[in-house]
């Protein structure tokens, strides 16, 4: 099991926005919702690999910038009727800092 790592301050991610996290196993998209929760998904849309980090965040979903697929931030599942799933990582906010545990 990987360890929790501190990435940045919550304020470093725009509200309803995201940041890209470079890792040894590829990029991760780190999202911040309107109510300041954070989620982390592999930065690859299950459809055609689009960078989800560049999408528009609304509620608990992100819209892929390439072809408009909707992906659930909490589960990584594409919203029906589309089908597909992207790997998720644990992320949380602690004392204003954003932590991540790679899956």
């Amino acid at each position: 099991m990987n360890e929790w790592k501190t990435l940045c301050a919550l304020e470093d991610i725009p509200r309803l926005g995201s940041r890209v996290v470079n890792t040894a196993n590829g990029d991760i998209a780190l999202f911040r919702t309107g109510d300041d929760r954070v989620f982390a998904l592999d930065d690859r849309c299950p459809h055609k690999g689009g960078p989800l980090s560049q999408g528009i965040v609304a509620g608990e979903r992100v819209t892929c910038p390439l072809h408009g697929w909707l992906v659930e931030l909490a589960s990584g599942h594409a919203v029906a009727p589309d089908q597909g799933c992207v790997k998720r990582h644990e992320a949380r906010v602690d004392a204003g800092k954003v932590l991540i545990r790679l899956a």
């Binding site: 790592k5 990435l7 940045c8 470093d12 725009p14 509200r15 309803l16 926005g17 940041r19 890209v20 996290v21 470079n22 890792t23 990029d27 991760i28 780190l30 919702t33 309107g34 109510d35 055609k48 690999g49 689009g50 960078p51 560049q54 999408g55 528009i56 965040v57 609304a58 509620g59 819209t63 910038p65 390439l66 072809h67 408009g68 009727p81 991540i100 790679l102």
Partner: protein, 808 residues
């Protein structure tokens, strides 16, 4: 809190659609009880004809099975007919004694077929055509008997006749009027349709009245007409019209007059009792087609949910005959009259008849037989009351004649093979769409887009997908009217209402708009947020703050995202002019950042493709050129020809004019992208005819053309006016673009904006009314006076994070 009780009488399409709409708005407001006279769940009554014709099976047409009622906590009393409403005790009683209390009651009792009051109408073998039981009786009769007579040649009668013929019976249609479908077709159209039905073996007796049904051993054996003629008949189908079911309401002393009379909020004279569907008389009209019922359902649900907004103001209806292989469409005032004109195409040998009825410069009705390709388009023109003066010469030849890229093949949905590709962007063929519509019970173009992706990209196949939808589900399809289409699924308000509210209420933030207009989602979606952001900054410049998180990535990163996640960079070259120094810097950047592809664009500049996002700030700095905004809903380029500076034909200095326009418009955000062109003489080498604003030099000045388009749908720009000076070119063009900025809907190109408001209106605001023009022009200049360049304005502060990655 104890839940209120809602009782629904009628388990058909109108009643259950209302319940579905209500559950979407307020899932927990009511305990819902539904009474239905038939022992089934809700099914798609419209598709009984394909069932009768043997093209579909009963399970295919179920919309809500019993599990649906259970899952939604709805008590369904199927097969129980309500016999009494007690308005004082607020309860209803069914024929088996079941009693249910209500706080609010919804009547959706539908209609019953009109049975001609002639001797023998109660014989065995005489049936109406209304429900599953009737359909099953007809199917059974077709296996045991030979001769069928259908009385009435309306929509239902013809579908019944066709179905029985397909099942092997000899069918005769008897009709009192002189031609078939007299409520929907004029005589030439009806004759053509009759000929094609006769070619399938149906027999018609027109202008004949039935007098009696004769019996043999208790079963009907013949129909006798007033003129004495007798026709053998083992099965008689009464399809002479329907009557609203109002007995129950009348017994409860609710005001009825040719239907249960309701207000615009779908309330009867008892405000606790609502009514929707075929049993209703709204503003003097009783609707028998399903599309209006769905509109009523939506309004009714809104009021049941205590939202209290939305009025039903009546529907325009269109008709489509569901006889496979025969296309018939009719809509609006198709007969014409004193103050109308007609355009008619009548090709009897080819089996095509089209009549368009025009009142003033609006389309008011249409009848199509044999080729209904453009039915949905005509219907939209009728509903939206679109000015057609500019289209008139091509109107008869259909939407396809207006130019549609990528759809030169296959314009007729009915004759397309299942394997034919419909959506060229997403590779979706007709069979896939039809299957999805049937399997998932889709009713709207949006649902088809979600399930199949067809028409979800460039949208140029929308008309074709609409046709497929219309021919698959028949009358249940209602083409969306652009006027009342909600902005997105987060709201019921259309663009116009949202724009207007932002101005009237002086709303300055996206949150304020969503709060004021009661958005259904906490942060909207990727469709509404960019639209709201644009409306705010264009309505309240300097006051509303731009929200980068509500912009599409291209506008947030000021570069164009590519399929592999890299970006493309297009520096601005004013009027398509450049210098050795700029070219050198572009070459240097291309080498330094190993740019894989360099391309000259159609907008007369250079595109550097394949740049990683984190390199963007460095690329911009090294280029030292302003942004070309090649990524934005904004001013893109001003294309120019060489003009009088060098060209031996040139009459005006088009390059200088182009540069001046481009500098004036720099940094302008707009509802959609905006492209200009300036040509130095009427040879028009800069292709002004397909630009949002095209300026053409003539010896005595300039001509200004507007609302051209070179993309999905090629549209030639329309002549706005002629001006004398360069200063006037800037003023008129600027004023036109500001008008578009203030009134256009988000993602509406100038061509569609001008189509919507009419060129006359634009001319009035820009050409005739000098004060209006000056005011618009001043507002534009005011917005643009301190437009900064997003590239040279060094990326700093929080915005810088956009381009920096974290590491883990």
């Amino acid at each position: 809190m104890k839940k209120q009780k809602l009782v629904v009488i009628g388990n058909g399409m109108a009643g259950i659609r209302t319940v579905e709409e209500l559950l979407k708005l307020a899932p927990d407001l009511y305990d819902i009880t539904v009474f239905g006279a038939e022992p089934h769940g809700n099914y798609n009554r419209i598709l009984l004809s394909p069932v009768l014709a043997g093209e579909m099976a009963l399970p295919d047409i179920v919309l809500n099975d019993f599990a649906w009622y259970k899952d939604n906590g709805i008590v369904l009393h199927a097969g129980r007919q309500v016999t009494r409403i007690d308005r004082i005790a607020r309860k209803v009683t069914a024929d088996d004694g079941t009693v249910a209390d209500y706080d609010r009651l919804l009547l959706a009792t539908g209609s019953t077929p009109f049975i001609l009051p002639i001797p023998g109408s109660d014989l065995s073998g005489v049936i109406a055509y209304r429900n599953i039981a009737d359909t099953e009786a007809m199917i059974a009769a077709a296996t045991a008997h030979q001769h069928a007579v259908v009385i009435g040649a309306g929509l239902l009668g013809l579908e019944a006749a066709n179905g029985l013929k397909r099942r092997g019976m000899e069918v005769t249609v008897v009709q009192f009027a002189d031609w078939i479908m007299e409520r929907q077709l004029d005589k030439p159209a009806a004759d053509l349709l009759q000929a094609s039905l006769e070619a399938r073996g149906l027999r018609f007796l027109l202008g004949k009245q039935s007098e009696a049904l004769l019996a043999n051993n208790g079963r009907v054996c013949a129909v006798r007409l007033k003129d004495g003629m007798e026709i053998a008949a083992d099965l008689v189908v009464m399809a002479a019209g329907i009557r609203p079911n109002t007995q129950l309401a009348e017994a409860a002393n609710l005001y009825c007059h040719r239907g249960i009379v309701v207000s615009d909020t779908m309330q009867t004279y008892d405000p606790k009792i609502y009514a929707v569907g075929e049993c209703v008389n709204h503003r003097g009209t009783v609707y028998g087609l399903v599309a209006p019922l769905f509109e009523q359902a939506k309004v009714c649900a809104n009021h049941l949910a205590n939202f209290g907004i939305g009025r039903y103001v009546g529907s325009s209806v269109s008709t489509k005959l569901k006889v496979t292989g025969i296309d018939v469409f009719s809509a609006g005032e198709f007969l014409g009259g004193k103050n109308t004109e007609e355009i008619v195409l009548n090709d009897r040998a080819g089996g095509v008849y089209k009549k368009l009825v025009i009142a003033g410069d609006r389309l008011s009705g249409a009848v199509l037989v044999g080729d209904t390709t453009d039915g949905a388009w005509y219907f939209r023109l009728i509903k939206d009351q679109t000015p057609i003066a500019e289209l008139r010469d091509r109107l008869m030849f259909g939407e396809g004649s207006l130019g549609d890229s990528g759809h030169a093949h296959g314009r007729n949905a009915a004759t397309m093979a299942d394997t034919a590709e419909v959506c060229g962007c997403n590779g979706v063929c007709k069979g896939t769409i039809v299957k999805a519509i049937r399997q998932h019970g889709l009713f709207t173009i949006d649902e088809v887009r979600k399930h199949t992706k067809a028409s979800s990209s460039c949208g140029s196949c929308t008309g074709l997908v609409e046709q497929i939808l219309a021919s698959t589900i028949g009358g249940a399809y209602k083409p969306a009217s652009s006027a009342d289409k909600p902005l997105c699924a987060c709201t019921d308000y259309p663009h116009a209402a949202v724009r207007q509210t932002i101005r009237a209420q002086k709303l300055l933030t996206i949150d304020a708009v969503m709060h004021f207009l009661e958005w259904r989602t906490p942060n909207g979606c990727a469709t509404c947020r960019p639209a709201l952001n644009y409306y705010l900054i264009s309505t309240w410049p300097g006051e509303a703050q731009d929200d980068p998180q509500s912009r599409y990535i291209n506008e947030r990163a000021h570069a164009n995202i590519q399929k592999d996640g890299t970006f493309s960079v297009v520096p601005r070259m004013w009027g398509g002019l450049t210098t050795p120094d700029e070219l050198r810097r572009i070459a240097d950047v291309a080498e330094k950042y190993r740019v894989p592809t360099l391309k000259v664009t159609g907008g007369q500049r250079i595109d550097l493709l394949g740049i990683r996002k984190q390199d963007l700030p460095g690329v911009w700095q090294d280029l030292g050129m302003p942004s070309g905004h090649a990524y934005g809903k904004s001013i893109r380029t001003v294309k120019t020809c060489v003009g009088a500076e060098h060209c031996r034909f040139g009459t005006q200095k088009s390059m200088a004019m182009g540069v001046a326009l481009e500098k004036m418009l720099f940094g302008m955000w707009s509802p959609h992208k905006v492209k200009l062109a300036v040509s130095g003489c009427p040879r028009n080498c800069a292709e002004c005819g397909i630009k949002d604003v095209g300026v053409i030099g003539i010896d005595s000045g300039w001509e200004i053309h507007v609302a051209g388009n070179g993309g999905i749908k090629t549209e030639v720009a329309q002549f706005l006016c002629k001006v004398d000076s360069d200063a006037q070119v800037k003023e008129y063009s600027g004023a036109f673009l500001q008008l578009y900025r203030e009134e256009g809907f988000y993602l509406e190109r100038t061509v569609h904006y001008v189509q919507r408001v009419g060129l006359d209106y634009v001319k009035q605001r820009i050409v005739e009314d000098g004060a209006s023009r000056c005011a618009l022009y001043e507002r534009l200049l005011d917005v643009l006076k301190d437009a900064a360049d997003p590239w040279t304005e060094r990326v700093s502060g929080p915005a810088k994070r956009e381009f920096e990655a974290l590491t883990a």
